[in-house]
């Protein structure tokens, strides 16, 4: 028995598309233009956001450095103004000033650590941010140990004061190392490229 294939009704047939080359090109061009605009816009947006993040981070580092410069000036003044042969009263006065500077330094570093730690930075700058925060942490620890040394001195526990100052010196060396890391990371972030060995 021969099978007969039924005829497809006209309504189910795909309409014939009359391809107009000019219109097709125009449509493709429009799509390409939209994609290009979206891409360029997105790239610009990302670049602008990253620039803004870096600038904000840089502004916070600048503010931190300005405050640290003030702390540094006070430290230098305090250390350099100490008499060569101080009396007990002069020693006590100098240590009280030392304690006040230590407390100021501790507050300054804690404050900027909080601010800079909250910054959102581009991926390329995470190492920079992390190194700077590390530096502030070490400095904060050094200032805390200065405070402890001053308190120990006040309690006439000179050996404990010496120990605290020795600990502060170690923390200070860690801070110097962290600032070195920060400079290296910043150079890499700004110039691009691989991280050279420390």
């Amino acid at each position: 028995m021969a099978l007969a294939i039924p005829k497809i009704p006209d309504v189910l047939r795909l309409p014939k598309i009359a391809v107009d080359r000019r219109r097709a090109l125009t449509a493709a061009g429009a799509v390409a233009a939209v994609i290009a605009v979206a891409f360029i816009g997105w790239t610009l947006h990302v670049g602008w956001t990253e620039d803004r993040q870096v600038a904000a981070f840089g502004g916070h580092v600048a503010a931190s450095e300005a405050d640290l410069a003030r702390v540094s000036a006070k430290i230098s003044s305090c250390i350099s103004s100490r008499p060569e042969y101080p009396s007990v009263a002069e020693s006590d006065t100098a240590m009280r000033e030392f304690a006040a500077i230590a407390e100021y330094g501790r507050v300054v570093t804690a404050y900027h650590r909080q601010v800079i730690g909250a910054d959102e930075v581009p991926e390329a700058y995470t190492g920079v941010q992390s190194a700077y925060i590390r530096a502030l942490d070490h400095l904060n620890r050094a200032f805390s140990l200065w405070s402890s040394a001053a308190a120990a001195y006040d309690a006439k526990a000179y050996a404990a004061a010496k120990d605290h100052l020795a600990g502060a010196d170690r923390a200070w060396k860690d801070y110097v190392a962290a600032i070195g890391d920060y400079d290296r990371e910043l150079r890499i972030a700004e110039e691009g490229g691989e991280i050279p060995p420390a």
Binding site: A33, V37, A55, G59, A62, I79, R82, S87, K156, Y158
Partner: protein
């Protein structure tokens, strides 16, 4: 779709580009740096220390007479007057447990006028280096001849009892005396003599340190060089801060009274730098911890390194 349909799309894109490349940098330029939340506290300078109240010269006082032998063999009598209020104030002051802080006793401002007066009477200034040396030696001999009495002996105190702030330690009692207390008691142990001698020499402008041994305390006096012709020993000194501090014994004075009923002492004083005749093994061969009198604890590291700012930072 006609060209006329694409033109608005392209125009829109162009506007976005212009805004992004020209208008945004012109308007925004440096992105505004958000001011952090909490305000940074300002530096608070320390309050000035109250000035010490001087003790009145008038009023009750302890007067003590010392009979001692000078470097030339002459016997001298020296009287010292200490206001009772000062003495009692010292007795009521708690002692420092940390021996590194004992230099504070030697430099006590309240004792300074008494020490300066006593030092000048024993070692008058006359500008002659030879006389100055004799004066220095006389001061040392004066202190060495103050009778030794350990802290745990009630005979060491004019009250005949241990002071309230005498501190029990592992091997007895510790009570470092202010110079004025040693003068009033007329007795003391090694640290009391070293502290008194340090206070007297400091009043004359000598640079001294305390030499801290595990079982003894002595004095170090700064000298650029000390090679006395009479010395049959190598004068011992210790380096501290690039300076030489020669050993000075404050206590041990050999001998006893010339006769049973005589108050005159005979014996051999310890000259500067002599450790070979010392009775302490630690003094003969050990190295003491040096306690500077005029020193303020200071960190070795304190310079803040300026950090380079990221591009775009203020």
């Amino acid at each position: 779709m006609e060209w006329k349909d694409i033109i608005p799309v392209l125009a829109g894109g162009l506007v976005i580009l212009v805004v992004a490349l020209v208008v945004k940098p012109a308007l925004v330029g440096e992105p505004a740096v958000a001011t952090p939340g909490p305000v940074l506290p300002a530096y608070v300078p320390p309050a000035p220390l109250p000035a010490a109240t001087p003790f009145p010269e008038v009023g009750a006082a302890h007067t003590r007479t010392f009979r001692w032998t000078a470097i030339d063999g002459g016997v001298h009598t020296t009287e010292v007057r200490v206001p009772e209020a000062l003495f009692l104030a010292h007795r009521e002051t708690p002692r420092f447990a940390d021996r590194l802080a004992w230099g504070r006793y030697a430099l006590a401002e309240e004792d300074r006028p008494i020490l300066a007066d006593l030092a000048r009477r024993i070692a008058p200034a006359d500008g002659n280096p030879e006389e100055e040396y004799f004066g220095l030696m006389n001061l040392i001999f004066f202190v060495q001849q103050i009778p030794y009495e350990p802290d745990n002996s009630t005979d060491s105190y004019i009250e005949g009892a241990l002071p309230r702030h005498a501190r029990p330690v592992k091997d007895g009692i510790e009570y470092p005396k202010y110079p004025a207390e040693t003068l009033v008691d007329g007795k003391g142990d090694c640290e009391d003599s070293a502290i008194l001698l340090a206070g007297l020499l400091d009043a004359l402008g000598y640079d001294t340190v305390l030499l801290l041994y595990p079982d003894h305390m002595a004095l170090g006096i700064r000298m650029d060089g000390f090679h006395p012709y009479y010395a049959k020993y190598t004068p011992k000194y210790f380096d501290y801060g690039g300076k030489h501090y020669y050993y000075v014994e404050g206590t041990t004075y050999y001998g006893g009274k010339v006769s049973a009923d005589s108050p005159v002492l005979r014996g051999k004083p310890f000259p500067i730098g002599d450790t070979e005749d010392a009775s302490f093994g630690s003094v003969k061969s050990g190295t003491p911890e040096i306690v500077p009198l005029h020193s303020i604890p200071a960190p070795a590291e304190y310079r803040i390194r300026p950090a380079r700012l990221p591009a775009g930072g203020a």
